[in-house]
C-alpha cells in the first residue's frame, strides 16, 4: 500500500470523458440529496415535537402515522448519502432543535395549529420536490431514474400529508394565515441554506 510515490512531474492521464458534465451532475446530486436529507430530518423532528404534546389527543394516531412515513423518508436519504458520498448539512444539530421546537410549539397552540404547521411545511416541501424533479429531468433523466422515482414518491407522500392536515381542520387554527406564512418563510430559508452548507 505504501506505494513509492512517483518521480517529479508524473503525468496524470485524464481518463474521464465529459468530466465537466460529470462534475456538474455531481454538484447537483450533492445539493439535492443534502437538502432532502435535511428536510426529512427536520420533518422527523417536527412530528416528534408534535407527538410529544399531542400524543393523547384525537390526532395522536394520525401524527404517529405521518411520523412513521417521515422516518422512512429520512432513512432512504441516509442510505443515499452513503451511496452517493454526499456531505450532510452542517446545520443538522440546529435543525434537530429547531424542528422539535416548531413541532412542540405549534402543538402547544392546539391541534389545529399543529395541523396548520404540517400544511405549511408540506406545502413548501411539495414545491421544493417539484423543482428538484425539474432540475433532475433537465440534467439527465436516464441517469437519475432511480432518484427521480424516489423524489416523485416522496412528493406524493408529502402532498398526502398536506391534504390530511387540511382535512383535520388546519384552517381553524388561530392566526392561520400568519402562522403558515411565517412557517413557510422559515422553511424556505432552511432549504436555501441547507443546499449550500
Amino acid at each position: 500500500m505504501l506505494a513509492a510515490s512517483g518521480t517529479i512531474g508524473r503525468r496524470w492521464i485524464s481518463t474521464s470523458v465529459n468530466s465537466v458534465k460529470k462534475a456538474k451532475t455531481r454538484k447537483l446530486l450533492d445539493k439535492i440529496i443534502r437538502v432532502d436529507h435535511a428536510g426529512e430530518f427536520g420533518a422527523d423532528r417536527i412530528y416528534a415535537g408534535q407527538l410529544a404534546v399531542l400524543k393523547k389527543s384525537s390526532v395522536g394516531p394520525m401524527i404517529q402515522e405521518m411520523w412513521d412515513e417521515e422516518k422512512h423518508h429520512r432513512e432512504t436519504f441516509e442510505k443515499l448519502i452513503v451511496e452517493k458520498r454526499v456531505r450532510p448539512t452542517v446545520l443538522l444539530p440546529l435543525w434537530n432543535i429547531a424542528g422539535f421546537a416548531l413541532g412542540a410549539g405549534t402543538a402547544l397552540l392546539g391541534k389545529e395549529a399543529a395541523m396548520a404547521c404540517t400544511v405549511a411545511v408540506e406545502d413548501v416541501i411539495g414545491d421544493h420536490y417539484n423543482n428538484q424533479i425539474r432540475e433532475l429531468m433537465e440534467d439527465d433523466p436516464e441517469q437519475h431514474k432511480e432518484l427521480l422515482e424516489i423524489v416523485k414518491k416522496f412528493r406524493d407522500d408529502e402532498m398526502h400529508h398536506h391534504d390530511i392536515g387540511l382535512e383535520y381542520d388546519a384552517e381553524k387554527a388561530p392566526f392561520y394565515n400568519a402562522l403558515t406564512q411565517v412557517i413557510k418563510i422559515g422553511c424556505k430559508g432552511a432549504v436555501w441554506i441547507s443546499e449550500r452548507i
Binding site: S5, R11, S14, K21, E78, R85
Partner: protein, 263 residues
C-alpha cells in the same frame, strides 16, 4: 486583462476545431456545442497543468511554470492566461489529483482485504493512508511551503478547504465510516487537525525517509484513541456526573434562598 486573455485563448483554441464545427447551428445544437467547447477547454487546461508540474521544482508554483508547461504542450506561452489565479491553480490541480490517486489506492486496498476476508484495523488503515498521501508530496518537498502559503491565501480558501475536506472524507470513507449525522463532521475535523499537524511537522523533519514524521503521526493517532476511550469512560460515569450537577443546582438554590418557605 487575465480574463480577456483566458477568453482569447479559449476562442483561439476553439478555432483549432473549426473544421469540426457545423455551420448554421440550431438552438438545440448550440447548447451541445457549448458543452463540447467547455470540455475541450477543460481538457487543454488539464494537459497544460499536467505538463507544468515538471517545472515546479525550479520555477515554483507560479505562472512561469504554467508558461513552460504550455510550451511543452506545443501551445503559446500566453496560454498561462487560461489560469487567472496562476500558481494556485497548479497547487489545486496537484492536490486534487493526489487525492484521486489516494482514493484509488485505498479502494483497491479495501477490496483486497475484503477478498481475503481480513478486517482492517482502523487506526493502522488511517495511518497508512495519511502516510501514502504525504509521500506523494515528497518530489515537491522543497517547494511545498510555497504551496501551503498559496493555499492559505483568502482567494484560494474555498478551493483548498474543499480539497482538504475531500481528502478527509476519502480516508474516513475507506476506513469504514458511514455516519450521516454530525459525526461526519467531527470525525473529519479531528483527522484534519492530525493531518495538518503532521504535514507541518514533515516540512522540518530531517530524518531519513521522514521516519520521525511517521512516529509523530502514530502518536497523534494514539492521542485520538485515548480521547475516544476517555469520552467513553466519561459517558459511563455520566450518572455520577448528572447527580453531581443536580447536587450543585440544589446547593445553589439553597444559597440563593429559593428553597426556603419564607421567601
Amino acid at each position: 486583462v487575465r480574463r480577456r486573455q483566458a477568453r482569447f485563448i479559449s476562442v483561439t483554441a476553439a478555432k483549432f476545431t473549426a473544421e469540426q464545427r457545423s455551420e448554421g447551428q440550431s438552438s438545440e445544437n448550440s447548447a451541445k456545442e457549448d458543452a463540447q467547447e467547455a470540455q475541450y477547454e477543460h481538457d487543454i487546461r488539464q494537459r497544460i497543468l499536467s505538463a507544468s508540474l515538471v517545472y515546479v521544482q525550479e520555477l515554483g508554483w507560479t505562472q512561469k511554470a504554467l508558461e513552460a508547461g504550455a510550451k511543452d504542450e506545443g501551445l503559446p506561452p500566453i496560454a498561462h492566461g487560461m489560469f487567472p489565479r496562476g500558481g494556485a491553480e497548479l497547487v489545486h490541480y496537484f492536490y486534487s489529483k493526489s487525492n484521486e490517486e489516494l482514493a484509488e489506492i485505498l479502494s483497491a486496498d479495501v477490496k483486497e482485504a475484503e477478498a481475503k476476508g481480513e478486517k482492517l484495523k482502523t487506526q493502522t488503515f488511517i495511518q497508512n493512508a495519511i502516510e501514502t498521501r504525504l509521500r506523494m508530496i515528497f518530489p515537491y518537498m522543497d517547494i511545498w511551503p510555497q504551496a501551503m502559503a498559496i493555499q492559505a491565501l483568502p482567494q484560494n480558501a474555498v478551493d483548498s478547504w474543499t480539497n482538504t475536506l475531500n481528502l478527509m472524507d476519502e480516508i474516513w470513507y475507506y476506513a469504514g465510516d458511514r455516519s450521516t449525522d454530525f459525526n461526519w463532521y467531527t470525525k473529519r475535523m479531528t483527522l484534519f487537525a492530525i493531518y495538518k499537524s503532521t504535514e507541518v511537522y514533515m516540512l522540518q523533519d530531517k530524518s531519513a525517509d521522514k521516519e520521525d514524521t511517521w512516529a509523530f503521526l502514530n502518536r497523534r493517532l494514539k492521542d485520538l484513541e485515548n480521547i475516544a476511550a476517555a469520552k467513553k469512560s466519561c459517558e459511563q460515569n455520566s450518572d455520577v456526573f448528572k447527580e453531581a450537577v443536580k447536587g450543585f443546582a440544589v446547593m445553589g438554590r439553597n444559597v440563593l434562598g429559593f428553597n426556603s418557605r419564607d421567601r
